[in-house]
Symmetry: C2
Subunit: 309 residues, 2 copies
């Protein structure tokens, strides 16, 4: 029996689980808070791993999903915004020293892609484009059954591809990125800006206004809310056309909360995508799917990484 251990580290919680063979139901599964008053994040991580460690041992490998930027080849976390304790942190070496098994690390979006490719919506596809649209936009690409990683493992940062130079400010400090047009906060920001400019809406420009509220207002017929999603879909279509020209996948998988907005986002997206594609072959047999693994995408991606590495 081969046992694999998967770890998913997020800004708010750490999860660890053990799995047998090809089964995606965990044998043991444990969570901990990422940030807490006592101890270090690494200590909490190790305690969580020990909680799920099988009594008989026999762990073949550990896969770890963590927010980037990180270097999967050197195993170093570079400077993940939500985990400032881990600036230039050699996570793989530290875990290897502690648990004495092979450790494989990659960023959460790439591993969500790998997880969907192995266990989810991308099963059977050799060329997968994965996009998660929520607070930010993350990407992952499997090309001929292999994750595209790049020299320092920093490839497929697809939220930070410029779609309109000089456009709105992105969370990263640059302007005009896809993320600055189509992430949840950028949809909300657009609504607020339009309202500040005098456009009428049923929404209130409160600090707590969320993309979900904008989507609900759109569903109830609010013109501004509808136009905010149309705009996001339009730029998403422009960017995804470029991604098809760059990667020519056979499936696009959308994850993340904003992806659950349905036709509100995806009708204008598809219209824009079809308009911006340079050859009909890019759309031939192209599947557009919703992520199947939900909150488990990172964890199951880490499992997939441990299994195939």
């Amino acid at each position: 029996m081969s046992t694999y251990l998967a770890i998913d580290i997020g800004g708010t919680q750490i999860r660890a689980a053990t799995f047998n063979n090809e089964c995606t139901e965990p044998i043991r599964h444990q969570r901990a808070k990422t940030h807490a008053p006592d101890g270090t994040i690494f200590d909490r991580l190790c305690a969580t791993v020990e909680d799920v460690w099988p009594e008989h041992g026999g762990v073949v490998a550990i896969g770890v999903a963590c927010p980037g930027p990180l270097d999967p080849k050197s195993g170093i976390i570079l400077d993940t915004p939500n985990i400032p304790q881990w600036d230039n942190f050699p996570l793989v070496d530290k875990l290897k020293e502690r648990f004495k098994v092979p450790i494989y690390l990659n960023n959460d979006a790439s591993l969500a892609c790998l997880g969907e490719w192995r266990f989810g919506a991308g099963k059977g596809h050799e060329d997968v484009l994965y996009l998660t649209i929520s607070t930010g936009i993350g990407g992952g690409v499997v090309s001929e059954n292999r994750l595209i990683q790049g020299h320092h493992g920093l490839a497929t940062e697809l939220g930070h591809v410029t779609v309109a130079p000089g456009g709105p400010m992105c969370g990263c400090g640059q302007r005009g990125h896809l993320e600055a047009f189509a992430s949840g906060p950028s949809i909300v920001r657009y609504v607020k800006l339009q309202m500040a400019g005098g456009v009428q809406s049923t929404l209130k420009p409160e600090p707590s206004l969320s993309a979900k509220q904008v989507s609900e207002a759109a569903a109830a017929g609010d013109i501004l809310a509808i136009s905010a999603f149309s705009r996001a879909g339009k730029y998403l279509g422009i960017a995804v056309a470029s991604f098809l020209h760059a990667f020519n996948p056979s499936i696009i998988i959308f994850g993340g909360g904003v992806s659950q907005s349905g036709p509100l986002l995806f009708e204008p997206f598809k219209k824009s995508l079809e308009k911006h594609i340079i050859h009909p072959m890019y759309l031939k047999d192209l599947e557009i799917a919703t992520a199947e693994l939900g909150d488990n995408a990172g964890l199951l991606g880490a499992l997939a990484l441990a299994q195939i590495s």
Copy 2:
């Protein structure tokens, strides 16, 4: 002794050559015109191959470079603009039937990338981004020592990535692509448009005006000519920053005539690239190089393809 045969099909000429083992000097080398009054292109191609076919036989495989769009997996030329005779032409099957050896096909830009990776400026690199800038802009990417191809082999059409929606018209009929800003004809078009708008220049807005003439005028101090290359360099930097975020290569190799414009293009390019990158790690150890294989890039790329397939 292993003999490989490489074919490079262009809009004006067909080349075929045989090579022994790892040597990049051809044993035999023959050219023919792509278009001629008599016979078909395929007939001329076969005659050229027969011209270089070794007397003792022993050809292990044939690699073929051809302008895209084409599908390397099915071996079909889709609709290459310069070879209308070959719409939906099953080139690989036809060649296999005739020469009874394994045939491998890919598009010229991807194979130029593969050639540079195996024999040229990219030797020793695992992650290569190749861009050729001339009449159009073509791209190729080697990721962890493998060519990125995509589902139908249509990946890395990097000239047709949108850098400014609604921008100038591209050769493909879409607007705002990289090619519409930084190819030779787009640099010339910008100069002509500015002159039509009243901007002074030493250049004459004649139909024959070339990017080379614009580059010579810039070298002689013409302000408009200099600004035309600055603009091309700026948008090239924006696009390449997105390519680094997408592929994270360790080397960028520039081929094509416009790439020979030197600092005129590459100073504004580098400034723009540095400005638009989201993390300094993308530039760490990044080499920016000029293609080494020149006119032989397609042929040697076809050789590389035959050798590694």
